[in-house]
Amino acid sequence: MHRFANPARFMRLSGALLPWFGAGAAIFLAAGLYLALFVAPPDYQQGEAVRIMFIHVPSAWMATLVYGVMALASAVALIWRHPLADIAAQAAAPLGAGFTLLCLVTGSLWGEPMWGTWWVWDARLTSVLVLFFLYLGYIALVNAFDDPTRGARAGAVLALVGVVNLPIIKFSVDWWNTLHQPASVFRMGGPTIDRAMLTPLFVMAIGFMLYFAWALMLRMRTAILASRVRAARLGEIEAVEPQRQRAAAGSLS
């Protein structure tokens, strides 16, 4: 782990990996779109509306997965003061918020024709809405401090507290009555979805994951470069300052 702790090494490694992840994401997302829109069969009950699943379900997986990544990075940041951990958590947060928003909007667009309502305040939908607000709260909290280190620490604590929401989301469909269907892919006894729909779903999900990996790396690289720019500017001020002091001293004498 500590081999990758070094930002310089991370920059080298991520610079080499970035185009591959970007290309992989583009290929899988394009293939996923094709499979979802042209190859997958209509559902025997839901008809063509089932195609929303190929967006909704991967974005829901990403919404929770990204939060897991963010919480794990926050734990590493708090425990080991890993230099890249805070950067990773902060780079992940806006992406997680985006996936969660996508999940909520597509869920709404699926709910109206299938359930007859855009929204219900049941456990699954509400806990995912809470997840969205956790992301927003994290972003706001991190940026609410003048000292970035303190902001990062407060954000990390919030991210860890929010982890309690993840099992609630996962098991909400079993614990409470809901319009939302129960787990049909990651469940005991295997998936209940047919192969013809499962394959496009997984292709799309892999595309989403590669996209996230690409964007996360790019955003982490941006944060590292930004800190170098800041440090260089501080150095600039320090380099200029003694001259100014000398000049001031000269004008006095």
Binding site: P42, H56, P94, R233
Partner: protein, 63 residues
């Protein structure tokens, strides 16, 4: 042409299916564009510092 129109109807669910895909494309595109723009902004700032001789070139992360 008729088959295309038939396909676009999505069995009567067009007004739910297409917005879902539209929102997905827009969201992923927006996050990608914002991330790339952020990187380019920092690259520009860094290049300006380099040009001013404030920092040394780093071969490792030039892109």
């Amino acid at each position: 042409m008729e088959t295309v129109a038939h396909y676009l109807e999505m069995g009567g669910y067009a007004r739910f299916v297409w917005p879902a895909y539209g929102v997905a494309v827009l969201t992923l595109l927006a996050m990608a564009v914002a991330s790339v723009a952020g990187w380019r902004r920092q690259r520009r700032l860094w290049a300006a510092l380099e040009a001013a001789g404030q920092v040394r070139r780093r071969a490792s992360d030039r892109r």
